[in-house]
Every structure is written in C-alpha cells, then in structure tokens.
C-alpha cells in the first residue's frame, strides 16, 4: 500500500520535471518596469521590478517574459526590459549592475584551436583574395530565389513601417 502511494507520487511528479528545469534560468532587470498578470500591456499590474535586480525567468511568450523576483512578486514583463542570463561584466554602467558579475572570462570559452580572431591589425593588413570573392559570387541568390526560399518556409512578407527613433533617449549613457 505504501509502495503504491510512493509510485503514484513519482509518476505524478515526472511530467513536472522539464518545467522545473526550465525554471532555472535567471536574468537581470535592465530597467525599472511593471509586472503584469498577462503578457499584454493593458493587463493588471501585479508588481514592479527594480533596475539591476535578479529575476527568475519562468517562460517566454512572444515579446514577454514571465518572471519572478524572489519572494515579492511574479508576472509578465517585456523581454527587452530584462537581460537573460547572469554572466558578463555588464556595460559601461557602474554600480548595482556590476555586482555579482565576476564570472566574466570563465566557463563559456569554446575550443578555438586553429581558428583566428579578427583584430584591427589583421584587418588592416588584409590582402584582396580574388578566389574567395569568386566563391562568394557563386553562392549569391536572385530576388526570385529568395522569394521561393521564403515560401518553402511559410514566410510571408508583412507591411510594417520602420521603427521610429525614440523621442526620449533611453538607456544609460
């Protein structure tokens, strides 16, 4: 009887595991923003996030992330308000965003044996390579070929105006 109960618990718990694994992703708030009850800008406000605070990222839906900030609140916030992951030493900003970012330069380096980087000196000293330019030409696609490729993937052209320059300059300068 007890064994059955145990098995039942295990069976019920297994499907939850993948979700639990995904919940491990964290991020950091790039700016103060509002948390909402659903991934829409007119959804009910459930809380706020403060710039620089660490967030747990639960799921992503379109332009929105469902996040949780410690014990205080959870809700949906715009994807662009959050930097996913906790690595990196941040931007030019000083202060809270630079805290707890000592991981820079470790862990993520992949093996790059035999493959060079591109520094300024190499670019400056580069010599014209006619054979490679010819190869490059060989891979070119016509506008029509581009359309056919898009159709095969189910892509359809959408009318959309260029995004405007922000009136009020955002970001840290």
């Amino acid at each position: 009887m007890k064994i059955h109960a145990f098995l039942l618990t295990v069976l019920l718990a297994v499907p939850l595991l993948p979700g639990m694994c995904r919940a491990a992703e964290t991020g950091r708030a790039l700016k103060a923003d509002v948390l909402r009850s659903a991934p829409y800008s007119d959804a009910r406000k459930t809380g706020v996030i403060v710039r620089g605070e660490t967030l747990q990222i639960l799921t992503k839906k379109g332009a929105w992330l469902n996040v949780k900030n410690g014990k205080r609140a959870s809700g949906w916030v715009r994807l662009l308000s959050v930097r996913r992951g906790t690595a990196g030493s941040g931007s030019t900003s000083k202060g809270v965003l630079d805290v707890a970012s000592g991981r820079a330069g470790t862990g993520t380096i992949v093996a790059t044996t035999g493959v060079r980087g591109l520094n300024e000196e190499e670019l400056k000293g580069a010599r014209y390579n006619a054979a490679e330019v010819k190869k490059l030409d060989g891979y070119a696609q016509t506008p029509r070929q581009g359309e056919q490729f898009a159709r095969r993937g189910g892509l359809r052209a959408v009318k959309f105006a260029y995004l405007p320059e922000p009136k009020q300059k955002g970001g840290r300068r």
Binding site: R83, T106, L163
Partner: protein, 300 residues
C-alpha cells in the same frame, strides 16, 4: 574584367591628379573632384556626359558627387573591401551553409529599399563574435557569431542589422569623412602614389574600415531597421534582440568580443534603445516564424 575596371579607375585617377592645379585653394573640394572624376571613368566609358562646373579643367569626364555615388561605384568599393576582408578570414568551407545564409539574407534584403543590389552574404572563418557590412550589399557573419544563433529568425535579425548599414550607406559616410583628409595629406607629401596607394586612400588599407566604429546613433538605427526588416520578412520580431541578449552575456574581457564591444555600444544599451523605440508597436505583429527546424547547424 573586374580588375580591368579597377585599373581604369586608377589611370583615370592618376590622370586627373596630374592635371589638378596644385595650388588649388580649397584642397578638400578639389580632391573631391579628383576622386569623383577618376572613379567616373569606370562608368563613363560609353556615354559622355557634359562636364559640370566642378569637373577638372580640360577633362570631359562627368563630375560625380561622392555624396551620391553611382550604384556601380558603391559596389566596386564594397567589393574591394569584401575581398580584403576575405583575405583576412576566408569563407567557411561549407557550400550548404553559405547558400542557406544567402537565401535568408536575400529574402530579408528584398524587404529593403535596396533590393536591387547584388547582395552577397558569407560566413567567415573566425572565432570572433562579429558581423560586417560593406557598401554595395556585402554582408559577413563570423563563424563565432553564427554559433551563437539558434534559429532562422535570429540569423535574419543579425543579417538585417548589417543590411540596414548598407541601405543607409553608413560605411560610405565613414569613408567619405576620412578619405578627403587622407588624400589631402598624401597630396601635400608626395604628389602622386602608386595604384595601390591610391586605392588605399579611398578605402583605407585592407579591411580596416571594418574595424572602425560608426556613430552610436548609426548602430541604434541599424538595430531599429533590422528589427523592422525581420518583421517585414515574416519572422518572429525578436531574433535580433535575442542575439543581443546572448552577446550581452559574454564577458567584456573575452577576446572574441573585443572588436565588437570596441566598435559597438554595449548590447545592454542597444536593448534599452530598442525598447524605447519599440514600445508596444510589435504587439499587433502576429504569426512571425522562428524556423528553428530549418536552421542550418554547423558541424561541430
């Protein structure tokens, strides 16, 4: 054939330089005429347009403003830069990969105002995380950056940013700014150089223009246009922001992002700027595709 045209450019340039009055008061303006008149030789072989007021005295070449170079001239300049860049980092030897990138790039470029350009896309052999554009429709992504991508929408986002640089002639503007000064200095020094030297005056040496920073505003503009073009092409709009998110996680002191971080605003700043611009404008965009299944994955 191409080489011949470039040679034509040089001889035209040399000739123009020789007939230029050295005592020209406005050296910058005069030199602009030189470069311009010389370059026009390439396209002026058949039809002879009447010389404008700024044309070099005694020459029948059409004056040509670098403010609005011909399509052919733009492509010539870009091709030279692209060839030099490929001299530093050749194409990844994978025909399927290169074709795929050209298919995605071409479709996205079709959505821009410069669909007429002979767009060329390539993945180059470099562990760095970076992407480059040259005038006339040349776009390159490093193997290091390609490896960061997870789906076709993200690739489209990266290519879109570079396509935007080409459409807005951002690099041409940079060349224009420095070129006149450089030629001015060379002229005062030793009058005339060799073919190679003169070409370097136009595009700088090698692919150094690829290592130069554009204005921050040009990068932000390319991000906004990039997202726009991605949307127009029917992709999920957040391809580019997602890649910026990924790059933002790379430590500043990692060598593979040194050049990128030196020449671009930090990804965090770019994301914030994009956020300001986007607001809720993408909320109504539905049905964008990610196409992770068709994304071409590099062999390990």
């Amino acid at each position: 054939m191409k080489r011949l045209r470039v040679l034509g450019f040089f001889w035209g340039f040399l000739f123009a330089v020789c007939v230029l009055p050295a005592e020209a008061l406005d050296l910058g303006e005069a030199l602009k005429g030189v470069v311009i008149g010389g370059t026009a030789v390439t396209s002026g072989q058949t039809g002879e347009a009447p010389p404008k007021t700024e044309a070099i005295p005694g020459e029948g070449k059409p004056a040509f403003s670098l403010k609005s170079p011909s399509r052919e001239q733009e492509i010539d300049i870009g091709r030279e830069i692209a060839g030099n860049l490929l001299g530093a980092s050749p194409l990844v030897d994978d025909a399927a990969l290169q074709t795929y990138v050209n298919q995605v790039g071409r479709w996205v470029a079709n959505q821009s105002e410069r669909a007429d350009l002979p767009w060329r896309f390539g993945v180059i052999e470099s562990a760095d995380i970076n992407a480059f554009a040259a005038p006339g429709g040349y776009v390159f992504v490093t193997r290091g950056l390609y490896r960061c991508l997870e789906n076709e929408a993200q690739l489209a986002g990266v290519l879109s940013h570079e396509i935007a640089h080409v459409v807005r002639s951002h690099h041409l503007k940079i060349l224009k700014q420095s070129q006149l000064l450089d030629i001015g200095a060379g002229w005062v020094g030793k009058r005339v150089g060799t073919d190679r030297e003169i070409l370097r005056k136009v595009i700088g040496s090698g692919a150094e223009v690829c290592a130069r920073s554009l204005d921050r505003s040009a990068e932000f503009e390319a991000d906004r246009m990039g997202v726009t073009l991605t949307v127009r092409a029917g992709y999920e709009p957040y391809g580019l922001p997602e890649v910026l998110q990924t790059i933002g996680q790379t430590g500043r002191d990692e060598s593979r992002v040194t050049l990128l971080f030196k020449t671009h605003p930090h990804p965090d700043d770019r994301l914030l700027e994009l956020d300001e611009s986007i607001g809720n404008r993408l909320d109504a965009v539905r049905g964008g595709k990610t196409l992770g299944n068709r994304f071409y994955r590099l062999k390990p």
